[in-house]
Symmetry: C2
Subunit: 107 residues, 2 copies
C-alpha cells in the first residue's frame, strides 16, 4: 500500500464519528447495512452520516451498492488488511528484529 493511500485510510479512521461508523459496519459483517438503519443505530443525522460514509468510501474502506431506494454499505476487509499491513511494515518493529535495526546483529 502506498503512503498516500495509508494516509487516506488513517485520516478516515481518525475521526470519532467515522471510527464508530466503521466499527459498526464491521459488526454488521459482509452483508452490510443500509444508510438509514445505520443512521438510526448511531443516532447521527442522515446527511452527516452520508458525509462520513463518502469519506470512508473515498479511502477505500467501505463499499456501497444501491438496493432499490436504499443504499447498502459494507466495510472493505481487503483495504483494512492493507492498512494493517502498511502499519506493520512501516511503523512497527517486531521484538525479534530490534537487534538488526540497531546493527547489533545481522539478520
Amino acid at each position: 500500500m502506498e503512503i498516500s493511500s495509508a494516509l487516506l485510510a488513517l485520516n478516515a479512521l481518525s475521526q470519532e464519528t467515522r471510527l464508530l461508523v466503521f466499527k459498526k459496519l464491521v459488526e454488521f459483517g459482509v452483508s452490510g447495512v443500509n444508510a438509514g438503519d445505520l443512521a438510526r443505530e448511531l443516532n447521527v443525522p442522515a446527511n452527516t452520516l452520508s458525509f462520513h460514509l463518502a469519506h470512508l468510501e473515498r479511502a477505500g474502506l467501505v463499499k456501497s451498492t444501491r438496493q432499490g431506494r436504499n443504499i447498502n454499505y459494507c466495510f472493505n476487509r481487503a483495504q483494512m488488511n492493507e492498512l494493517i499491513g502498511f502499519l506493520n511494515e512501516n511503523c512497527c518493529v517486531l521484538e525479534e528484529n530490534i537487534d538488526c535495526i540497531n546493527n547489533t546483529k545481522t539478520c
Copy 2:
C-alpha cells in the same frame, strides 16, 4: 486499548508530516534520534517538527528523553502494537470468522 486512545493514535498518524516522522523514527530504532538531526533529515523547520513530535508524544507513540542540550526521540513500540491490536479487534474481520459474523455458522 480504549477507543479514545485509538483515536488519538490514529489522528497522530493521519497527517503526512507526522506519519513520515514516525516512519523515520522507526528506522532509527530503539536508540532514537535527537530533534535537530530529525529536522535536518526530514527538511522540516525545528518548531514545526517540535509541534508534530509533541502531537505524537501526546498520543503515546513516541517517548522523549533529554540528553544535555539535545532531546532524544524514540518511537514507542508498545503503543503501536496496542493500536494494531485495536484495529484487529474492532475494525477487522478475519476470513475464517466471516461465517460466524453472518450467523451462517456458530463459532
